[in-house]
Symmetry: C2
Subunit: 184 residues, 2 copies
DNA sequence: CTATGTGAATTTATTCACAGCA
DNA sequence: TGCTGTGAATAAATTCACATAG
């Protein structure tokens, strides 16, 4: 909406857009402050800024990707991370045929270099390795000072409690559909 | 656990595994029936079967993928859908250079063939086209009788209310991390 | 003895209704 | 007049404690 030049939006319109209801929108925002203008609505630009601040997206985060296979390449090529302030600043693999090659201005490094992440101010890890290597990859990332992990391997990963892991399992996402689909 | 030969599991162990607590596990299951055995726990095999039934995953669902680009190819190659009873039975693209080629025993068809889905008993659509083509793709899928859509395009899609859409936006998943990460 | 299933108590979330501001 | 912000009312979810079944 900001890009489209829209100045402000009401809780009603936001609710329609998100499939919620107006009081819910207003109540939720009110927990974090008074973002709106009575009689007008919420200023799009300001609202986006406030939400980014709440979600700690107001600073740039550097991320490292481990496992430059098919999925890893797709993730690296994806530009959508930018608007949330993410910068994939490093990529690792164990395949010597890949190490040294460039993907998108990033040179693929040997996975043993993961230990240099802390020095390089990289605090987010993206795991796109085969399932069997996910746990050891996570451990290497944690050892290197990673504070958050986005895991694309379809398995649970065990890390110290203070490390946040978000696992994206597209099969599970697909598996949510049938429940809502009327019997054929 | 079933594959590992584990016979049964307690609500305590399930809670530890999922990051929940035992009464929550038991209460949730109890809404759907008495799956457990007092003094023993839940039989793994039976529990999986019951959950699949609740989530309507007890029948095979055929899915069609639209947009065989980088991401589409990764999704098609992914074997993880199988355990939830999904079968990617068709793939479509508009690029004549791709049409006719085979990916994984599936021959890529012209997107205009989407209209044949109903006849072919395919009721789930997977959208992996560029953002600009997502809405029209969704409309073609709905027109062809699709009941559920898994959308990988980073945009909201407007469809009739009876159609369930699940949008997977990996940037949004990544964006959830910083909130949980301690300030550096 | 062990671990489930479940009413009751508690906590949390949502909805409502409306005072008040632009 | 239009829409926010918010206490109060309602609804929902979670936790607890324990009777009960294997």
């Amino acid at each position: 909406m900001s890009e489209a030049g829209q100045q402000s939006i009401s809780s009603q319109d936001l609710a329609d857009f998100l499939g919620a209801n107006p009081p819910q929108i207003r109540k939720d925002f009110s927990y974090f402050g008074d973002f709106g203008t009575p009689g007008v609505g919420y200023k799009v630009e300001n609202l986006a800024k406030q939400i980014k601040k709440i979600l700690k997206l107001d600073v740039v985060h550097k991320a490292a990707l481990v496992g430059v296979g098919n999925l890893g390449s797709v993730v690296m090529a994806y530009q959508g991370f930018r608007i949330y302030g993410f910068d994939i600043a490093a990529a690792f693999d164990i395949d010597s045929k890949k190490i040294g090659k460039k993907v998108n201005t990033i040179t693929i490094e040997n996975a043993s270099n993961i230990r240099t992440l802390k020095k390089r101010k990289i605090d987010i890890g993206i795991i796109t390795v085969p399932r069997g290597a996910a746990q050891e990859t996570a451990e290497a990332l944690v050892k290197a000072g990673t504070k958050g992990i986005l895991n694309f391997s379809p398995c649970y990963i065990i890390v110290p409690k203070k490390i946040k892991v978000i696992t994206v399992d597209i099969a599970m996402d697909l598996a949510r559909l049938p429940y809502y689909m009327p019997a054929s």
